[in-house]
Amino acid sequence: MIGMKANNEWKPEEWKIRNLHAIFHPKSIAVIGASREPGKIGHIIVKNFIDGGYAGKIYPINPFANEVLGLKTYSHISEVPGEIDSAIIAIPAALVPQALEECGKRGVKGAVIISGGFGEIGKTKLEQQIASISNKYKIATIGPNCMGVLTPSDRNDSIFLPLYKMGRPKVGDISFISQSGAVGGCIIDLAARAGVGIGKFISYGNAAVINEADLLAYLAHDEKTRVVVAYLEGVREGRAFMQAAKMVTKKKPLIVLKAGKTSAGQAAAKSHTGALAGSPEVYEGVFKQCGITEANTLTELFDFAKIFDIKECGSGKIAVITNGGGSGVLAADHIEEFGLELAEFSTQTKNSLRKILPPYTTVHNPVDLVGDADSSRYEKAIEIAANDPNVDIIIVIVLFQTVGIDARVVPVIVKAAEKSPKPLVVVSTGGEYTEIQRRILDSYGVPTYPSPSSAVRSISKLVKYCNRK
């Protein structure tokens, strides 16, 4: 669906934006379909709110129970005494319209419909009913057929996957929207493991009411979001999507992984969330037109998101500091391959480096701290590079396999990164020990990469975004 004429302007409806806020930052929530039975979705959701430490009011709704997990349970939403910001609905599809109608009468601002069994299996009428009830009562409805919403800052977690199976990330400022619940779940789990913080996560499923354009428009103006990441299979209203995407990229980076670009992928997407995929060339054009950074894999999505938290990157001249000559050469190769430049060090930088390096090494970029480098050599080298006016970005390559380096370099780099006026990323290639150090660095907000190529590719995307028109 195109949605509107080429020359028209799109704006999200004001009530949608207002009530989305209630979904993300609810003072009270109701779980319609709250269950006493462990393993049921309606049980897991209530449990996740309790275990996650949600501070607002929780109202379980179930006509056949007096209490769920120790909470007083109401048979209908109309009986709930206080105000309700957000209702999470996990009941059979056929019962959803009535429940939503009751929400509307009760003045509920937002609804998250977890239940499936709508447009994705051909029940378009049932889905239209959801849309018309939501529009009538101005309920910002997410879903149906979605995995839920997560706002770590508010401990607001309607994702129906148990905490022990899917980790929850810490508070951060990368917000993430996903058409697919499953892919979204993987990314959230990975983010939690990598120590990457999340502002908001929204699995929006069939998008009967709130679609990707509404969410992007919201996130564009959301002060708690600095980077927006989206996993898309198709878009519902092409032009609205483009305008919403431009709203985002005017203010902050938008990274998109578009699935269904090949004809095989398109066939799968059609039967998946019911969205049609456009031809790959058109999407490529749309992304370029809207200043969207396109990721081709889930790994890239993650790699890019981490680095986009950085605000400034100048013209992208890179200093490479390494304790392994070979990795430095690889980095230099990739820097040229991705159209970036190695910084030309100033005379002062060269002189300063000469003082801290062993006499047998040459002083140029990439800086080889050589195999016996220890934490203090890294500390000094980073400081020198960071103060060179010709340097915009620093890549610090740390090979933990060497004699002089161990976990003690991690706090040194974290501190140096904090002090450095220039963005700094770390490349560490290796096994279990290396992985652990990388995770710690990531959790302190220092973006790390397992290879020079992934680091340089990500930097190239950042530089492109920073220098957009």
Binding site: M1, I2, G234, L276, G278, V282, E284, G285, K288
Partner: protein, 214 residues
């Protein structure tokens, strides 16, 4: 849309096309006389084309003759055209001045089911067919978009003057893309496919040699 309407629409949107004249009476002898007159007026070399609903595509061989350099060649071509048309009713004969050789490009348009009118730009011939070296944008496009469409082609060096050639007039290409984008937006829902193929780019200006609108 028939050829004449397509040409007129293109010209209305300031899309430069080689000068042309349409003469009536394609099947008859007086058609030949009119064609000769038109060709002399436009100046040789010219192309001669039989315009008929039956032959909507230029690629329909036999009803299009290129590079006619003088009266004799034109007269001969006229005979062949009538023979090849096998009695198909003709709306007339198109006499069009041959465009000088330059860099062949393609500018197209297509309605995307989700984004509406889109505009396509690419290098002509083998580059489009084999390498799919095209850039696509959703209309309307900005001047920056048009600039990017030209510069992001892998074959861009050919436009910038590779192998000692003079660079083509990029400004005129940007204007062309903006004009086509406007045309496509103004006719949203009415045009499914739009083709300027080839567009020939020169050191100064560019010409849309053929216009097809479906």
């Amino acid at each position: 849309m028939d050829f004449i309407s397509a040409m007129n629409l293109a010209e209305k949107y300031k899309i430069a096309v080689p000068r042309w004249e349409m003469v009536k009476g394609g099947e008859q002898a007086r058609g030949k006389e009119a064609a000769l007159k038109a060709a002399r007026k436009l100046g040789y070399p010219v192309a001669l084309k039989l315009i008929s609903k039956k032959f909507l595509h230029k690629s329909d061989k036999g009803v299009l003759k290129l590079n006619l350099n003088n009266d004799d060649e034109l007269a001969k071509a006229h005979v062949e055209l009538l023979r090849n048309a096998k009695g198909a009713s003709a709306d007339g004969l198109l006499v069009q001045k041959m465009a000088k050789p330059g860099v062949e490009l393609l500018v197209g348009g297509k309605t995307d089911p989700q984004f509406g009118p889109t505009i396509v730009f690419g290098l002509g011939g083998i580059f489009v067919e084999v390498f799919r070296d095209v850039s696509v944008r959703v209309c309307p496009i900005t001047r920056d978009d048009a600039f990017d469409m030209i510069h992001e082609l892998r074959g861009y060096p050919l436009l910038a003057g590779a192998r000692g050639r003079k660079p083509v007039d990029e400004k005129s290409l940007i204007e062309l893309l903006l004009n086509v984008s406007q045309l496509l937006c103004d006719h949203e829902g009415k045009i499914n496919e739009f083709d300027l193929n080839p567009v020939i780019a020169y050191e100064k200006g560019c010409l849309a040699v053929d216009v097809r609108i479906l």
